[in-house]
Symmetry: C2
Subunit: 92 residues, 2 copies
DNA sequence: TAAACAAGTTTATAATATAAACCAAATTTT
DNA sequence: AAAATTTGGTTTATATTATAAACTTGTTTA
C-alpha cells in the first residue's frame, strides 16, 4: 500500500538541499544557505547527515582566502531521491 | 523558492492516515491501523494530533459491543493536504 | 472463571530538527 | 595598528517528534 519514506530525505531541509543539488550538480555552502533560507548551523548538520549516507559529497577548499564547502549529489543520492519520490506518490 | 512544509502533514503516518481518509471520507481505527501498518499506540497519538488541528473528526461509538473510532477528513484537512502537496512540488 | 483477545490510550524513550553559542581567519573601521 | 565586524562555518544544547512498550477496559473463549 504505502511505501516507506526514507527518513533521511523526509526532512524539509535535507530535501531542499537535495533538490538544489539535483538541478545544479554543484553548490557551495553559502549558496545552499541562501537557496534554502536555513541557518548555517542547521545546514551544517544536515549536510553532514547527507554526506554520511553518501547521498552527497563534500569538498572543502578555499575561494581566495575564504573557506569554501562544495557539495555534489552522488549516484546513490540520485537513486535515493528518485525512490523517495516514488514512495511519496503512494501517499498523494 | 521552497514553500514551507506543514509539519503536521510532513510525517509518514499522519500523511498515510490523511491519504486513506482522502480516498474514503470515513475509516475506523482498525481499518486505518491495517491500511497503514502502524502500531495502535502510534496511530492513536497521530490521530489525536490530526484531530487537535481539526484536520479530521473523530467519532467514538460501538460496533456491537466493541468500541469503534471513526475518522473523517474535514474541509480544513482537505485544504491543508492540498497546500502540502503544492508545497512539496517546489522540492520535486 | 481464568486466560486470551480486541480496541484503544498512556507513558517512556530514542531520534530529530533547530537555533544559539561558539571559533578561526579575514576584513573593515577608528 | 588595535578593536570591532564579517565571513564561513562547527559544536552543543534544547525542544519537539516519532515510536514502541506497557497498560486499561471490556469481551470472548476454553
Amino acid at each position: 500500500m504505502f511505501k516507506k519514506l526514507d527518513p533521511l530525505l523526509h526532512s524539509e531541509l535535507r530535501l531542499a538541499v537535495m533538490s538544489v543539488l539535483l538541478n545544479l550538480e554543484e553548490a557551495d555552502f553559502v549558496y545552499l544557505r541562501e537557496a534554502t533560507g536555513a541557518t548555517a548551523g542547521n545546514l551544517s548538520v544536515q549536510i553532514d547527515k547527507l554526506a554520511s549516507a553518501e547521498y552527497i559529497t563534500v569538498e572543502k577548499g578555499f575561494k581566495g582566502k575564504k573557506p569554501q564547502t562544495t557539495c555534489r549529489i552522488t549516484e546513490t543520492g540520485l537513486k535515493a531521491f528518485k525512490d523517495y519520490v516514488d514512495a511519496l506518490k503512494t501517499y498523494l
